[in-house]
Symmetry: C2
Subunit: 234 residues, 2 copies
């Protein structure tokens, strides 16, 4: 069944936005009486029936609401330096939504080649990936944040940094079923020595993803998947 | 140091191809006496010095050869249905090389929307990813292969199929340090019931990647990463 995204659900009725309405009526050619699914970004998955179509909106009556749909038992925040080639970062964002990330924080590091990201565009990618992967809760995407400011934020749970410099590190496998974790992934060229030192001083735990030399977006995906895998029941 | 790819190494000298020569002399502007690294696709990592530059080739004298460079203790074959949008499949190929896949087999399934892949283009992606991630052994990429033919091939080691239909499945975590594994990942729309039934009859083991609804390329990446993670020392 077709799935839509709407943040406007009132008195048991879903109102689709301009864009979703166009897709619903012009592309999919759905009419009154058609059954649709809808997610609202805050955890609800609706089954509904179209009852009205105006010039700008489709209105659908909710017949079933599933709350906290598909939610995980754990929270993962990924703080990742956007890549020079934005396609790679966008690909990570899409994959992260599929796997069920909760929060993405683009970070600005000493070696960052990309200093700007359009979060509006990322939001669109997030919503498309949510629909594709049946996620009812929308991950948060922050504006780009300087790493030094982020390091000082009092995140609860495990706080971990993946850097490539020498030094003792935990394996990502040692974060066994973390209920809350924040992971930092650096830019092409890694975190600077000064950034690593500051992170360690602030109590961030250095961790390793194995022996392969991974690109930023690959490392971010691998780190996120590792956490999910630790929660997968055998 | 700059890294090049060449399959022509003779009597302690590396000969770069036309394309690599252009990159070396025109883009990087390296001259006689410059130090370079080179991989040959069969496991050797060379350190060398440019001794001669002709119109079409750069020639470099090998000063150090590291054999079986960066090889894993295990072999992974990924048989994956190419996605309708080829970018997604190419992205998987790149990521698979970064993680260290040994063999990629594009498969043709009942529900495949894409029936053709240009392996020549994939070869280029493989070589670029090898250089980027310091892999000296080139993964093999087969021509697209009908799934039914593949299912009958006598691969040694674990043979596993990730399908979305109901039924008892192992978790991917249960493939603990497989020394040799072949994993099948289906197209958008999954394997057909007939294909799944045939695979099970032929002794392929059904496995699951968790609860998320993943795209083909995401599932393939996650499956490959899971095997690598099982081999990562804690």
């Amino acid at each position: 069944m077709h799935i839509f995204y709407s943040e406007t659900i009132q008195n048991g009725y879903i109102i689709l936005s301009d864009e979703e309405t166009r897709h619903c009526t012009k592309v999919l050619r759905l009419g009154i009486g058609a059954a649709i699914n809808c997610i609202d970004g805050i955890g609800n998955f609706y089954t509904a029936e179209i009852t009205d179509i105006t010039k700008r909106n489709v209105i659908a009556r909710v017949s079933l609401t599933q709350e906290s749909f598909g939610n995980h038992q754990f929270t993962v925040r990924m703080a990742v330096a956007p890549t020079k080639n934005i396609d790679r970062f966008e690909f990570f964002v899409e994959k992260a939504v599929e796997l069920g990330v909760n929060h993405i924080i683009p970070i600005l590091c000493d070696n960052s080649e990309r200093k700007v990201v359009k979060t509006e565009r990322l939001e669109k990618i997030v919503i498309a990936a949510m629909k594709q992967s049946y996620k009812a809760t929308k991950p948060t995407i922050d504006e780009i944040t300087p790493l030094r400011a982020l390091l000082k934020r009092p995140f609860s749970g495990v706080r971990a940094i993946a850097h490539c410099a020498q030094g003792e590190k935990r394996s990502v496998k040692q974060f066994d079923k973390p209920t809350e974790i924040t992971m930092l992934i650096g830019p092409e060229g890694d975190f600077s020595a000064d950034e690593i030192s500051l992170a360690l001083t602030q109590g961030w735990i250095p961790f390793s993803l194995g022996n392969s030399r991974l690109r930023t977006e690959t490392a971010a995906f691998a780190a996120l998947h590792s956490v999910h895998l630790s929660w997968t029941d055998v």
